[in-house]
């Protein structure tokens, strides 16, 4: 392995795509278009088409919002938190995870707008001097959300771009097709001088340091959208750490879901190895155990509180009309991941891929169960609603969000280096000093 080989191997992924890529992007774009159609239909007809029924006035869209913000989190964990811990294995997977973060936050950010009755007034959430002579209520968790999500999107996008800049310069100097002027513009004239590297390295470290508390704060703020309300099932002090662990859990599962096919299609097996997936699996197991513990603590707190409403909500969650979803969630998020204790399972990539999809389903259901089952069972039995029935509009918009996310991801991996060229080179010895036989370091 040499600098030149790394350069060639990774930039090879930018070559003209094959029929599989075109087929894939056609499929996911069609999903996105279905979602767009459903959103336009809803905007024209009214929010009533979403199937909201009193008192369940938050449902699938808010589930999607929390799900996508959660997916974003493992990207920052891998790119920033593991960077702080000098976990060298992150190098191979960090770029794809960072890109996933940005696209997931972009997707998530659409849902609070989709959820609005008059989505064209979403900018009323932004505090600026206006003709309505009103300021936003800074005591509202929804305004905190605005600040948390926009900060997260901005910082993640800058972090991704900062890491990409030298790699785009490598593409600019190597890829000789219609994209070269675009790479030239996006590389901003990167030259790779010592002075540039000095500032680049320093800032990358600071971004990692800033992103670490940010990632924890963002999902904490998202959890406070619920925990600040007095609704049984939501009003809990464990929500912030519980949501952060859940977010990382679902995000790692999504990283595995995305990387396994990407590695195979781009023939990156020598860069993204079984060892990397095993480490991701360990991360998934750890966060699964935290999530499982949080589930149990929730029940304990409800029992120990002596509060009949709290106890009623949790009893209803497991044995009421949402029992099927709750137990599926519990199976996908807590029971199935226990298989990861076995090395044979962690290193079986097909099994990991299947498990990662189950975890994605389980984590989506977790948010749905928390939101819908709690709302359907509040303080007043006269309010208790029947089983919530999502409509085709909610289904189509959810499908559309997956379509949008995968479209952005597929476009990214075909046009930008999906593995960091610079960081891969950094993990090996200098070209002239290295012994060719041993220059490729053992995974750490």
């Amino acid at each position: 392995m040499s600098f030149a080989k790394i350069n060639d191997d990774i930039l090879r992924t930018l070559r003209a795509p094959g029929p599989a890529w075109y087929a894939g992007i056609a499929l996911v774009m069609s999903f996105a278009l279905v979602g767009l159609y459903a959103f336009l239909y809803q905007a024209r007809t009214g929010l009533g088409v979403a199937g909201y029924q009193h008192p369940i006035l938050w449902a699938v869209y808010i589930t999607d919002f929390v799900f996508w913000v959660g997916i974003a989190h493992s990207g920052t964990l891998i790119s920033a938190v593991l960077f702080q811990f000098r976990a060298r294995w992150r190098t191979a997977v960090a770029r794809a995870a960072e890109a996933m973060t940005v696209f997931a936050v972009m997707t998530a950010g659409l849902f609070p707008i989709i959820h609005l009755g008059r989505p064209w007034f979403f900018y009323w959430l932004i505090p600026y001097p206006n003709e309505r002579q009103l300021w936003v209520n800074f005591r509202s968790p929804l305004v905190w959300d605005l600040f948390a999500i926009t900060t997260y999107l901005t910082v993640s996008a800058m972090f991704l771009y900062l890491g990409l800049m030298p790699d785009i310069a490598a593409a600019r100097d190597r890829v000789k097709d219609w994209r070269q002027p675009i790479y030239k513009a996006l590389a901003l004239g990167w030259r790779g001088t010592s002075r540039q590297w000095q500032h680049h390295t320093a800032l990358y470290g600071f971004f990692a340091a800033l992103a670490t508390p940010l990632v924890i704060s963002v999902h904490s703020v998202v959890s406070w959208d619920f925990a600040m309300a007095i609704l049984p099932g939501w009003h809990s002090t464990i929500f912030a750490p519980y949501f952060v662990a859940g977010a990382i859990f679902s995000g790692v599962a999504m990283v595995i879901t995305l990387l396994l096919p990407m590695r195979r299609i781009f023939k990156l097996e020598s860069y993204i190895t079984v060892h990397h997936f095993e480490n991701l699996a360990k991360l998934m197991l750890t966060t699964s155990l935290i999530v499982g513990y949080a589930y149990m603590v929730e029940f304990f707190v409800a029992w120990y509180s002596g509060n009949v409403f709290e106890q009623g909500t949790f009893y209803d969650r497991m044995f009421g009309q949402y029992w099927g979803l709750s137990w599926t969630m519990f199976t996908c998020n807590v029971i199935l991941p226990l298989l990861l204790f076995f090395k044979a399972f962690r290193t079986n990539l097909k099994a990991l891929f299947v498990l990662s999809i189950f975890v994605n389903i389980g984590m989506w259901l977790e948010r749905y169960v928390i939101i819908v089952s709690s709302l359907s069972h509040d303080f007043d039995p006269a309010n208790w609603a029947g089983l919530y029935q999502p409509t085709w509009v909610e289904g189509a918009i959810t499908l559309g969000s997956f379509g949008l996310f995968f479209t952005l991801f597929l476009l990214f991996i075909k046009n930008f280096p999906a593995v960091s060229i610079t960081e891969m080179k950094e993990t090996m010895d200098q070209p002239s000093e290295a012994d060719p036989a041993t220059s490729w370091p053992e995974p750490v």
Binding site: R174, R191, H200, A202, F206, V221, S432
Partner: protein, 167 residues
């Protein structure tokens, strides 16, 4: 301004390039700009690269963000006093969330802006680096020197292991 010439040495490793840079600087033969595809500590030491001042701008941005995060919500509640939920107008705990997020946002923007400025980008015109291989697998030492010293520079670079010397 005295007439100068540019000489480029191309190396296949950071240690050799660093030796080349050190030799030029120690002999006072000219000014050196080093290129490499990855950050290289040997080159940094040879060129006496110090700690980047972006840290200062991250700090300034962070402090500004924190101050904004408190001052702005306090200004808005005083500008249009509207008591909600029986809470005091100036409720510090919720404003901590805003201040926390803006600390990070402004710190990151401050760092990014200072990086762009100090790294001399964007630089949209002209050739970025004197050789395409500097983003691939080669290190470069570009020496700006007086024409009279050009031969000494070439010899020095070649002696330190330059694969190729141009100019």
């Amino acid at each position: 301004m005295a007439e100068t010439t540019e000489i480029l040495g191309i190396f296949d490793g950071g240690a050799k390039a660093a030796a080349g840079a050190r030799a030029i600087l120690d002999d006072g033969l000219g000014e050196v700009v080093a290129y490499s595809p990855v950050p290289d500590h040997a080159l940094d030491q040879a060129l006496h690269v110090t700690i980047s001042p972006v840290r200062l701008f991250v700090l300034i941005g962070g402090l500004l963000g924190c101050a904004t995060g408190f001052i702005f919500p306090i200004y808005t509640v005083l500008d249009w006093p509207l008591i909600t939920g029986g809470k005091p107008l100036i409720s510090i705990p919720p404003f901590v969330v805003i201040a926390f997020e803006l600390t990070i946002l402004f710190g990151a923007i401050g760092g990014m802006a200072s990086f762009l400025w100090m790294a001399g980008v964007p630089r949209l015109t002209g050739s970025p680096a004197p050789d395409d291989r500097f983003t691939n697998d080669k290190m470069g030492i570009n020496v700006t020197c007086r024409p009279a010293d050009a031969d000494a520079v070439r010899t020095s670079l070649a002696r330190c292991g330059a694969e190729e010397v141009k100019g």
